[in-house]
Amino acid sequence: MTVVFERTTGLTEVETHYCPGCTHGIIHRLVAEVLVELDILDDTIGVCPVGCSVLAYKYFNCDMQQAAHGRAPAVATGAKRVHPDKFVFTYQGDGDLASIGTAEIVHAAHRGEKISTIFVNNAIYGMTGGQMAPTTLIGQKATTAPYGRDEETMGMPLRMSEMLATIDGAKFVERVSVDTPANIRKAKRAIKKCFQVQLEGKGFGIVEVLSTCPTNWGLTPVESLKWLKENMIPYYPLGNFKSPEEVE
C-alpha cells in the first residue's frame, strides 16, 4: 500500500477561511506542492494581496508578507532585490492585479523583476461582496453592474496575460484553469515552469489561473466549475503565451 496523495507540507495545518468550493484553496495547494517539489520552501518569500487571499500568510508554510492593495509586485521587487538568493512570489486576485495594481504588475514585468506571480482571475471582487472587476465578463452580473456588464459603458473584459506577454521583461506567461482534475494537473506544471524561470534568473513570470467565486457568482460550487468552463475559457483561452526555450 502506497500513499499517492496526501496533504503537502508546503501549507500549514490552519483551516482556510475560504467559502465552500472556492478554488483559491486548490491554487494554494498547487503553489505549495511546487515549492516543496522544487525544494525551495525554506528559501521562499511570498507576498499576499488584498482580496480574499489577504490571509494567505497564515496558510503558506514559508515566509510571507502582506502588501497594500495591488502593491504586491512592488513589495516583491524590494524583497527580491534585498534577497536575490531567495525565491519570491506574489499571489494576487483580479481586482488586486488588473484594477488597482495594474501599474505595479506592468512595471514589475517591464523591469524584468525576477519574481513570479500567481494571478487568480475569478472575474469579480470576491472579498468585498461581488463588485465588477476589469475581468468581469460581458453580461455577467455584479453588485456594481446589476444588469450585467455592457461594453458600451464598461468596456470589454481585460486580458492581462495577453497584455503582459507583449512586455519584453516578461519571460513566462501562461493561463491555466482549475475546473477539472486534468486542468489542475496542467496548472501545476505551468506553476512549476514559471517558478523555474525565476530560479534560473531569467526574469519575470506569471501564471493566470481561472478560478471560481461560488458565493458572489450566486452558483453552487459544482455549477461554478461549469460556468467557468462555458463562459470564462472561451474568452480567456488557456495556454502558454511566452516561455524561454529552455523550460519548455
Binding site: M1, T2, F5, T8, T16, G25, I26, P181, P221
Partner: protein, 72 residues
C-alpha cells in the same frame, strides 16, 4: 474486481462543497445526508470503498485538503 484504492476523508475539516462528488468516475462519493461536522457542514465520504480505483480526482479538486489516497 479487487479493491485498488483506499481514500480517507478528514471529515471534521470538510466544507461539504461537493466538488469531489462531481469528479469521481466510479461515483462512490456522497455527502452525509443527516450527520453534520463541527463546522456545520454535511461532510463527504465513501460508502463502497472496494470500488475505489485510486485515481485521485477527488483529492486533486478538494480545495480543503480533506482527502488522502492510497494505492493498494
Amino acid at each position: 474486481m479487487a479493491q485498488k484504492g483506499r481514500t480517507t476523508f478528514k471529515e471534521d475539516i470538510c466544507k461539504g462543497c461537493g466538488l469531489c462528488v462531481s469528479v469521481c468516475p466510479v461515483k462512490i462519493i456522497a455527502l452525509e445526508e443527516i450527520e453534520i461536522n463541527r463546522k456545520g457542514y454535511h461532510p463527504a465520504g465513501i460508502k463502497e470503498m472496494e470500488k475505489c480505483i485510486a485515481c485521485q480526482n477527488c483529492a486533486l479538486i478538494c480545495p480543503d485538503l480533506v482527502i488522502t489516497v492510497e494505492k493498494l
